[in-house]
């Protein structure tokens, strides 16, 4: 008997018109590792909630068809019983916290206490999970005082320790550094081998392709396909469905390298097997026009609590080139940009903006020039209507009503939210709220735009939209400073990359320089972009940054 059987599942949220899930049919066997992919709004998160009975038991709405977990219907079995079998890791880790515990150790143990796990066993599992996810050193911290990535690790650990038979993970690595996400995938894969069934929603398509046995492809609530990664990613209509094939697949397709069954390779190993090294070389470095300096940072130090310094003397000069900050979780990236924005005050050293020390200025006084989009959009949104939310900033910095409205509408159009003007931001999905947050800063037309992990929860289209924003603003001579964990995106859109590790700058240069610096990447727990990895494996000299660049050098087009 399959562990999960979904039969003609249909679901509509209360007050919604369209079906969120429409006729899903699939089964999952014990110990399978299933990937769920699809564009934003395809129904992935709703499906994950249907598997543990939150849909429809908690969210109500109209429900049809069947979800059987070990033969028991998920819509009528109490969640209190289902949760022993099915563990669900939420998309936003903040929502996973119980709110009843004031340290990470007890927070992680909370679920086990409820399930009556013996004390010795609880201690053993918590220790294992915290060490595995590399947060053992934070066990006594308040879970709310962690960096985004650290909190996401806590959320995963808190479900892992409950040892459910089925684990459903909703973009569990969206805020993790590259090596951290690789570890999560490896851990989960090990669990699958030990007989635990895994369903994972992910936008990191290369990882899904490498680890999953089968992939469920959703589009607008419909099940498009349920097949092996090779079959799924060889589909010609993938882009129309809002999903992008792995970099390796795109390259092999363009170069006509197929597997014996006619499908294309999906992993770096498969691709490296089918491809030969050619004498193509990466393009020569283009001269970068010099741009005016905006921020000068000198010997900057900071700590949240006395005794544990988070930033140890940062020295940087930021000009208007599009700049990405990358680095391991907890390296101090968010802290650094909050200091630039003035939300935190430096402990030592100085920050000058256009030659003036910002220590003497209020945050509001800087707001018109420096815009900051928070890592967690929920920290930023506080109005009940999207247009109001976006107009708040422009009105504050002295635009009149008409101008503010015009700027706001333009910003909403740029972020693809033109038809969401009158919605309540709290009713929108995470990816849309993230866009609302971006729009509300764009509308103020600042000279510096700081984006803290803008690609969280975004599908291909969302990423392209953000790439467009980065390009447009840079062309206008503005500084876009973005914190990112998606190296392909960094390689594609940014001229300068700053690597942070443990509160220090570990490397700083063009993407090509930085991604060739293996030592710095290792120190910051980063991996080079996927194309770079493939080319290194094939023995190419130099660093190829994007699929397009590589294909152009090989003399063909995607």
């Amino acid at each position: 008997m399959p562990v999960i059987a979904v039969e003609n599942l249909k679901y509509r949220y209360p007050h919604a018109e369209a079906l969120a899930l429409d006729g899903l049919n699939f089964t999952v066997e014990k110990g399978e590792f299933i990937g769920i992919v699809g564009e934003n709004g395809a129904g992935k998160s709703t499906l994950s909630q249907a598997l543990i009975g939150l849909v429809p038991q908690f969210y109500k709405g109209a429900y049809g068809g069947k979800v059987l977990i070990d033969g028991r219907p998920a819509d009528t079995t109490p969640i209190a019983e289902l949760c022993c079998k099915v563990g669900l890791v939420f998309q936003n880790p903040f929502n996973q916290l119980s709110g009843a515990k004031d340290n990470v150790y007890e927070e992680v143990a909370f679920g086990m206490q409820n399930l009556g796990v013996p004390r010795e066993e609880m201690h053993r599992r918590v220790e294992n999970a915290l060490k595995m996810l590399d947060i053992w050193q934070f066990r006594d911290r308040n879970p709310f005082d962690l960096s985004g990535g650290q909190m996401q690790r806590v959320a995963i650990a808190s479900i892992l320790v409950m040892e459910p038979d089925i684990m459903v993970l909703d973009e569990p690595t969206s805020q993790l550094d590259p090596q951290g996400s690789e570890e999560v995938f490896r851990t989960v894969d090990k669990l699958a081998r030990s007989g635990i069934t895994i369903l994972m929603i992910e936008q990191k398509i290369e990882k899904i392709a490498a680890y999953c046995d089968r992939i469920l492809l959703l589009h607008q609530g419909h099940q498009i396909a349920y097949d092996t990664p090779q079959k799924i990613f060889s589909r010609p209509d993938l882009e129309e469905l809002g999903v992008r094939a792995p970099a390796f697949t795109r390259i092999c397709r363009a170069l006509g390298a197929t597997l014996p069954d006619g499908s294309y390779p999906v992993t770096v190993e498969e691709a490296a097997d089918r491809l030969q090294r050619t004498d193509a070389l990466p393009p020569p470095a283009a001269p970068v026009p010099s741009r005016p300096v905006l921020f000068e940072i000198q010997d900057l130090t900071f700590s949240y609590n006395p005794g544990t310094q988070v930033l140890h003397g940062i020295n940087l000069c930021l000009d208007a080139r599009p700049t990405a900050i990358i680095g391991q979780n907890g390296a101090g990236k968010t802290t650094l940009v909050k200091l630039l924005k003035g939300l935190l005050r430096a402990e030592g050293g100085s920050i000058r903006f256009r030659g003036e020390d910002i220590a003497g200025k209020t945050v509001a006084a800087l707001a018109a020039q420096v815009g900051y989009v928070f890592q967690n959009p929920d920290d930023q949104i506080f109005r009940y209507n999207v247009l109001d939310e976006v107009m708040f900033g422009p009105l504050n910095i002295g635009m009149d009503e008409a101008q503010a409205k015009e700027k706001s509408r333009a910003a909403l159009a740029m972020t693809g939210l033109a038809d969401k003007e009158t919605s309540n931001p709290y009713d929108l999905e995470l990816y849309e709220r993230k866009m609302v947050a971006i729009a509300s800063v764009l509308a103020m037309d600042p000279d510096v735009l700081i984006l803290d992990e803008p690609t969280i929860a975004q599908d291909v289209r969302g990423r392209q939209c953000i790439a467009g924003i980065v390009r447009t603003l840079s062309e206008q001579g503005k500084l876009v400073l973005a914190i990112l964990h998606d190296m392909d995106f960094v390689a594609e859109c940014f001229d300068r990359v700053i690597v942070m590790a443990q509160g220090q700058v570990a490397a700083d240069g063009t993407p090509r320089q930085v991604f060739a610096d293996a030592e710095a990447l290792q120190a910051a727990r980063l991996d080079p972009p996927h194309v770079t990895q493939l080319c290194t494996r094939l023995g190419y000299e130099g660093v190829f940054l994007t699929v397009e660049e590589f294909l152009t050098a090989c003399g063909c087009k995607e």
């Binding site: 019983e81 409820n114 506080f382 709290y426």
Partner: protein, 257 residues
């Protein structure tokens, strides 16, 4: 995030005592003098509480509490010493003000009572983690939902303050002046209220989902992370305290006969 609980683990024996022993002490300290109706018993328990606090290195932290209660106690002494209805014998006078024996005695009773309660509660509050107390109560069949609510009450204030900071940050990031003069800050306060309430409501809903998923409502018998087997002293002390209460009750009954 700051905690509003007054507990700090200073490693003293008092922090390691079982919360129920401290509850028994509160019960004894309050009921025995009241039942026996003797003023000197108050003095004994106040002295005892102070001694316990001192040996638990908590005396310093109780000073502000006592200082605060003294301001109230002094008012009580003044009012009753001067104006109590039973006042007949003048004890002493300061200028035109006559202080009466009856009123002062009455005020002394109230004062001792308040001080006694305050100090005995201080022992519990200063040396016990709220979640520890709630957990022990739950183990004895106290409702888990109620327990969760009590614990989250301890978190609500710091959480609200956290939310307030977050929203202030969001607002000043987008050009609303929130720093500077009192007037600016006062003006910035009003627009905070509605989002803070809204965000707390949404938080509550999300916590409810989190609790569901993490098995809060599961039927299994709950287990606990902390190992709090009663220490050696806990049992005898509790027995002595309860015995004192019983004695006081008997004494009271004998008196009435």
């Amino acid at each position: 995030m700051k905690s509003i609980s007054l507990y700090i683990d200073n490693g003293s024996w008092l922090c390691r005592m079982h919360p129920f022993t401290k509850l028994a002490y509160i019960a004894a300290a309050i009921s025995v003098p009241l039942l026996a109706g003797r003023l000197w018993l108050f003095a004994v328990f106040i002295a005892l509480s102070l001694a316990v606090l001192a040996s638990g290195h908590l005396l310093k932290r109780v000073v502000p509490l006592v200082a605060f209660s003294f301001t109230i106690l002094i008012t009580i002494f003044l009012i009753h010493g001067l104006f109590n209805q039973q006042n007949r014998d003048i004890l002493f006078s300061i200028g035109p003000l006559h202080f009466y024996r009856e009123g002062l005695l009455y005020a002394l009773h109230i004062g001792c009572n308040v001080l006694n309660m305050l100090l005995s509660f201080a022992i519990l509050v200063l040396s016990t983690k709220p979640s520890e107390l709630v957990e022990e109560l739950e183990k004895r069949g106290f409702s888990r939902r109620m327990g969760y609510i009590i614990i989250s009450v301890f978190q609500i204030v710091p959480q609200m303050m956290g939310t307030m900071n977050t929203i202030t940050d969001a607002q000043r990031s987008r050009g609303m002046e929130t720093e500077g003069s009192l007037a600016t800050r006062a003006k910035a306060f009003l627009p905070l209220i509605s989002p803070v309430v809204m965000s707390s409501l949404i938080n509550t809903r999300e916590r409810a989902v989190a609790l569901e998923v993490r098995g809060f409502a599961a039927k299994q018998k709950k287990t606990y992370l902390a190992d709090r087997t009663p220490r050696r002293g806990d049992k005898p002390i509790t027995i002595v305290l309860l015995a004192l209460i019983v004695l006081a009750v008997i004494w009271r009954i004998v008196q009435c006969l």
